[in-house]
Symmetry: C3
Subunit: 154 residues, 3 copies
């Protein structure tokens, strides 16, 4: 990582959203040693889930991909709040992407790319995480996508 | 953790269930360094899945939440068998909750709280794990919920 | 592990498939310390998903179990490419199995055994990982099963 992630975000014109507030008795981020697990993120705006429904019946795949990008950005915001910035992140280790699918939709991997590409843009090659993407029957509050992230810190 | 978890369980009037037996060629718990991964837990009683079906068509959400609590307790029982007690657990790191959902049910996060609240009750703030909760199309043997747990040990 | 895994594979008459190519901007394997996370694997042959559909409507359970075995073998191939062989693998830590289920199918655990049994055959008791198995609404490109693997390395 030649360019620090916070500077990279500025160059990309991206502002971190406010850190997410858990919907229950859990932590936004839990750390053990040099690993930090971010809780599953769904995208909220003004207290409501953005674009509720399934992909692609209610939410077109490109919109869902953009929501995966935003959920991943929320995960970075949670990490920034926990770590006091993004500079101590050494690499993205695992991205988990859950897509609430309509019958017949099978391009979950394209939807997930919104998150993978954000990580690459912010962290360079250190953002190239492993990834698991699946289609699910439903998500909390009818969210169309949910993203979890594991990173390594200094 | 001022109070040891085993004492906390006694205070709460909770007895650990018998450790679960894997439904296949896998381990109840696998450790690496100071991390211990517990296999996905579904709740059994007298050799049968408790309250088979989906939430909330067959199983009301509050019942499902109680089953998440019991599945999390089973995970602690598996850890206790592996570690010779719960005292070496430093913190709960990640709770994964899968809810077999009926069409139109979108309160998976409320169902998951049964597990998160148990961890807080037993471990105090060290029980505040990260969490990922999703709705799934089905679970082994028609279980309504499945719970996996990652903890840090001494 | 008395017998090295590569020799065990030869004894079993198993050849590692070519390492998988990611379907997006992610890494086949991401490492942190002595842990290595393999991305979710679906089984391809000649550029197409093998036996697309759901279990057991389109794909009988025993066939799906064999596909879990092959997906797990692909995960080992990804690890072998990353680590320069399988000899530095100390143990399998966690196997995640996602089964795209038809309505009424609830034997995901039997389907998952194809992966667990392969790990035992290749690594002996060091292959006995923890496991989480769930049924999902869909998988990328209509794959019937997806497998993710976490291992500990030297």
């Amino acid at each position: 990582m030649s360019t620090p992630p916070s500077e990279r975000l500025r160059e990309l014109g991206i502002e971190l959203p406010p850190p997410p507030s858990p919907k229950g008795a859990y932590a936004p981020v839990a750390r053990s040693g040099t690993l930090a697990w971010v809780s599953g993120q769904i995208v909220f705006e003004n207290g409501a889930v953005v674009r509720p429904g399934t992909v692609d019946h209610d939410v077109p795949a490109p919109v869902a991909s953009e929501l995966v990008r935003r959920a991943t950005l929320q995960a970075l915001s949670a990490l920034s709040a926990e770590l006091g910035g993004l500079e101590s992140i050494r690499r993205a280790v695992r991205l988990g992407v859950f897509v609430a699918v309509s019958e017949g939709f099978h391009r979950e991997h394209e939807v997930a790319n919104g998150g993978s590409e954000l990580l690459l843009a912010v962290f360079g090659e250190a953002g190239r995480a492993s990834r698991t993407t699946v289609g699910v029957a439903g998500l909390p509050l009818r969210a169309p996508v949910e993203v979890e992230l594991l990173v390594e810190t200094a």
